[in-house]
Structures are given as structure tokens and as C-alpha cells.
Amino acid sequence: MDSIILQILNGLDKGSAYALIALGLTLIFGTLGVVNFAHGALFMIGAFCAVTLNRILTLSHQVIDNTRTDFLGNPLKVDIPYIYDFFGENIGRAIIDWSVPLSILFAIPIMIAIGVIMERGLIRHFYHRPHADQILVTFGLAIVLQEVIKFYYGANPIPSPAPEAFKGSFDFGALVGFDPNTIIYPYWRLVYFCFSLIVIGAIFAFLQFTTFGMVVRAGMADRETVGLLGIDIDRRFTIMFGIAAAVTGLAGVMYVPINPPNYHMGMDFLVLSFVVVVVGGMGSLSGAVLAGFMLGILESFASMREVIDLLPGINQIIIYLVAIIILLTRPRGLMGRRGVMED
């Protein structure tokens, strides 16, 4: 029993990432009908927003500290981040420590801007082209974005730690009445899970309870009619593209402490997120979220020792296997709408 709970917990953080990325992908697909292969790159850019903010915060100048000496006996040069000068050392230290959560604020405007530029600059010209063309041009864009990041940040993963308060693990089992030390769970993964729930909830609430969201939903159902009613649906869809980019970027920002970002992390997640979207059903937001968590948890169950002994290699392929089975038995995916991409 405890190992089952442990696996579910382990699956939750990966599942949260899948769910967020797939949610963004579905928002884009559902609103604009565009198959966006550059979506993984947005996730990666989000992660590098966190890295960038960290670098900006730790910009420092050198100060000679006469009280200490280095091994040659010369006065020691100490790097003092500018932020210490502005806010004092204690607050400055805390700000740098919390740079990853702070990056959320930094990433949202950047990601929205990137999304809007992408939509206005490139993707709007591809609405009426075949899906194959959309796949290909966004695939090219993904390569370009990935290479640009590689050029500026190098090819190696850049470790960016979580705030001190969330480092380490806690005994989840003891909280809910299991033996101590059976279910240990890192704090940050729990934070990531809660964060993803908040973002997903916010998106659904936004679509459900605001006038803007209502118009967008109407546009998703029947774009033409909404246009005929005199509503500028294109502009709203552009904003939705920005929001979708922001959701994906935030997934990347918060994923940084779990997995040090490198330039090809986007491509690694791209394939998986498409599989998630297809399993959930093209164009279904709740399907994407559900499938994300489901596949994340399934993946972690498949990597249990007992399962691997029974079916060697299953942990590597379980997601693809599930995708194949779902596509063949339920072609529309778990919660896909009728008539979406059924050509």
C-alpha cells in the first residue's frame, strides 16, 4: 500500500508538468486549430527565464575585503551582487534564494510577449495551410529557438536550486499514518504539484467565469458565428496564444529545480506532450489535464521494480504503448470532442 502511494506521489510531479504543457498545447490547438511543434521550445524558454532572472539577480561587482586574505596573503576579492547594495545583505540573499519562484513574475510577461509575437509574426500565416505545413514550420521554429538558447547558455544543464525552505524531503507517510520513513517526498515536488493545480484552476476559472473566457469558448465552438456577431475573435485568440505560452513557460520555470534545464529539454517533452494531448483528446482541455496526470502516474508505476521484473523495459515505453492502445480503441482520445481532427 505504501509503495502504491509513493508511486502515485512520484507520478504527480511529472504528471503536473505533462498536464501543464498539454493544457497549453490544447489551448493553442482548440482556439487556433494550429498544431504547434514549437511548444516544447516554449517550455524550455520558460525554464531559461528562471535561469536568466537568477543571472540578473546575481550580477555582482568585486569588492576588496581587507579583513580576509586568500592563500597568497593578498586581500580577498569578494563578489557582491548589486542587489545587496539595493536592499541590504539579508533581503538580497533572500531574493536570490527565492529566484525560482520570483521568476514566475518575470516569466509571465516575457512568455505572453513571445506567444503574441509568434502568433502574429508566424503562425497566423499558417491557419489555412495544411496541418503538415504547420507541423513543419513550427518544427523549424523549435530548432531555431533551441539553437539560439544553446548559443547563449551553452549546451550543459544549468543547475538552479529551489529556495532553501523547500530543499530536502519530508515524511509524507508519517503525516497520514503509515510507518515512518516509508514514504519520503521532496518538498519542491509537492510545491510543483500545488502550483500546477493553481494554474490549471486559474485557466479553467478564467475561461468559465469571465466574459473574455466566454467569448473565447464561443469562438472555440464556432469561430465564424462569433466573428459575424461583430466580435474581434482574432485578437482574443492571439491573447489566448500568449496565455497558453505563459502556462507552458510557467511549467518550465517551476520545473527548473527538479531537472536542470538544458537546450534540448523542450524536444524531450514535446513528443510526450503531444502523446498526452492525443490521449486526452485533441481540443479537450480537461482531457489534456486528466491524461497528463494519468500518464505521469502510469509512468511511475511502470518503473517499480516488481513491474520491471515482470515486463522488462515497460517503464521506457509505457506512455507510447498507452497512446497506441487509446488511439486504436478510442480514436477521439479520452475526452475528445466529436469532429475535431477526424480527417
Binding site: V35, L122, H125, R129, H131, A132, D133, I135, L136, V137, F139, G140, L141, A142, I143, V144, Q146, E147, V148, K150, F151, M267, V271, F274, V275, V278, M282, P312, G313, Q316, I317, Y320, L321, A323, I324, L327, L328, P331, M341, E342, D343
Partner: protein, 392 residues
Amino acid sequence: MFKLNKKDLRTLIIVILLALFAPFLLNPFPTDSALAQFNAGYPDLMQRFVIFGIFAVGFNILFGLTGYLSFGHAAFLGAGSYAAIWMMKLLTMNIIPAIIISVIVAGIFSLFVGWISLRRSGIYFSILTLAFSMMSYQLAYSVLTPITGGETGLQPKVNDPRLLDGALAEGAIPKANLFGLDMSQSYDMSLGAWSFTFNSGYYIAAAFLILSFYLSIRIFRSPFGMMLRAVKSNQQRMTYTGLDPKPYTLAAFVISGMYAGLAGGLLVAMDTQAGAERMFWTASGEVVLMTILGGVGTLIGPVLGSGAIKYMENIISKINSDILHTWFAFLPDGLENVIVAIIYPFIGKGWHLTLGLLFMIVVIALPGGLVEGAQRLSRLFKKGKNKSNENE
């Protein structure tokens, strides 16, 4: 001739000439000149040109004719490679059985994958093929290590049981051959400042390219090819006329899978090793790029596209900042540095950036690829000519 009409025969002859004279065409610069680094006429690269040409020609039969975009063809290439290397380990270092088996294995594998994937179409088909190829890749890396060699891959070893060849002398390196003709055997010819290399492996691969190109022309012009086009243009109408599109699409899928297997077998024949990275999905993406860049659904497009991409991959990635500095040395120093700094991200390790940009430009501005570009140019040229005639 060869049951081809005049135009197709001309295309075939162009490809044959290109293949035969590639060692000359790809080495246009004297060996010692500064431009020698643009020479691509060395055996390893020429072999890659033709092998990936075969791969792209096969992919075009599926994507160009039926419109089904497969993102998993690298799996068949990888399967073909593994099959070929096992033939070399078990039977003989002669490449003929290796290539035959690689085509057969890839055919059977693609029959299985295609039979399942073709139940869906559009993006679902792409995802299904992608899922299959990623599964093969992951399995080849992990569980199937006894068969695939895992991360290290496979190479023929001296003490493999090779039933037909018999035991090799101690210390001898098993070399791929065609009835004794070594694949790496080359004949160097120098003409003045130029030197040209004629490699036996290249010409064998080129023979396969010509053969598969001829086959693809025949498929394009056959009633079967018409059926495949019907699948692309309107499946519903095809069904209403009482035809079942599935067997035709499946046949196209298997044929293109066999082409991929042939390419995989040839890769092993030229360079006797196989690894799982050949099955990674970016490798499938690469063949899509080649086909698109050359021109989807055209005959000669894939050959040109694969040539262009492999050329850039090898040549652009070799250029470094020193070479750039020598090129722009004639400029004032400040300007030179600025220009080098601008170009630098696009060359050397950054050639993927160039590839991505080029790819976007082609899809945005020239959906028909290089072939369409050439057609537009020639039309423009003709128009200009006509106008000047009218003026006279």
C-alpha cells in the same frame, strides 16, 4: 526506353549522370586552394548523399503520394541497420545478404507498424508512427541490449561465427566487401591541381540509388501510383467508387519502409556499425526535412534535398571562426570582426540554426521546395525572354 516517357527518362538520366560524375562535380575546387573546404567529394560524404537520397526517395513515395506524414521512418532505417550487422556477424561480410535481409526485416517491421498506424490518419497517424519509433528507440537502448548492443551499438568482431567466411586470421579486421571487393577501396586520380576519389562503396551505393530511383519513377507513373494520389486528394470519393484505400496506403508504407531498410543496410555496408541513435525521432524529422526541402511529391526533389542537407551538415559545420577571419581579411579590422561576429552563430556548431531557418523559409515561402524554386526561376527566365521577343 525502360517503359518511361521522354520527360521521366530525362530525369532518370540526370540522376544517373549526377551519381556517376559525383566525384568530379563535388570536387570543383583545387585541393590546395582556400575553397577546398567546400569540396564534398570524399567517399564518406558521397556515400551519405546517396544513402540518404534512397531514404528520402522512399519516404517521398509515402508522404509525397499519399500525404501521410510519418514521423517514425528512422525506426525502419535502424531495424535495417541491425539486421544487416547481424548478417555480417553470423553469415558473411559480403554485403549482398546483409542488404537483402535488411530490406526484408524493415519490410516486415513496417508492415506491422503500418497495419496498426494506418487505422488513423492526419496528425493521429503522425503521432502513432512517432510513438512506434520512440518505442523502438527506447527498447533498443534498454531491454533489447543483447540484440542491439545498447549504448555501444554493434560492430562485427574477429571472433564472430561467420558461417560462410570461415575464421579470420588473428588480428585481422573484418571488412565489408562485395565478393572480395572492399567497400573502402578507393582510386585517387589527380589532374593538375585537382584530385578526385573514386570509391567502390560509393559506386555500389549509387547503383542502388539509381535502381531505387527508377523504381520510384515506375511507381509514380503506375496505376498503383494513381491510386496513392487518389488517397491524398480525396479518400472519401475513393471509398464511394468502391475502392478500399487501406491496402494501397499500407503497400506504400511498406515500400517506403523497405527503402528505409535498404538505406540502413547500406549505411552498415559502408561503415560497419549500428547504434540506436539512428532510430531517434529527430532522425525521422531529418528525412522529412530532406523531402520538403527538395520538393514533396516530385521525383527528383528528395534526392536534391538529401544532398543539400547532408552537404550543409558536413561543410557548414566544419567552418570555424578562423576560416571566417581569413575570408573577410580584406575588410578593415573593425568591420571584419563585426561581420564575423554576425555570421559566427550560423556556422560550425551552430549549423542546426541555419538548418532551422532554412527550413522555415522553405516552408513559408517555397512550399514546393527546391524543385518549385527552380521551376519558378525558369518560368521567370522564360517570361523575360518572351517579353524581350515581343519587344523585338
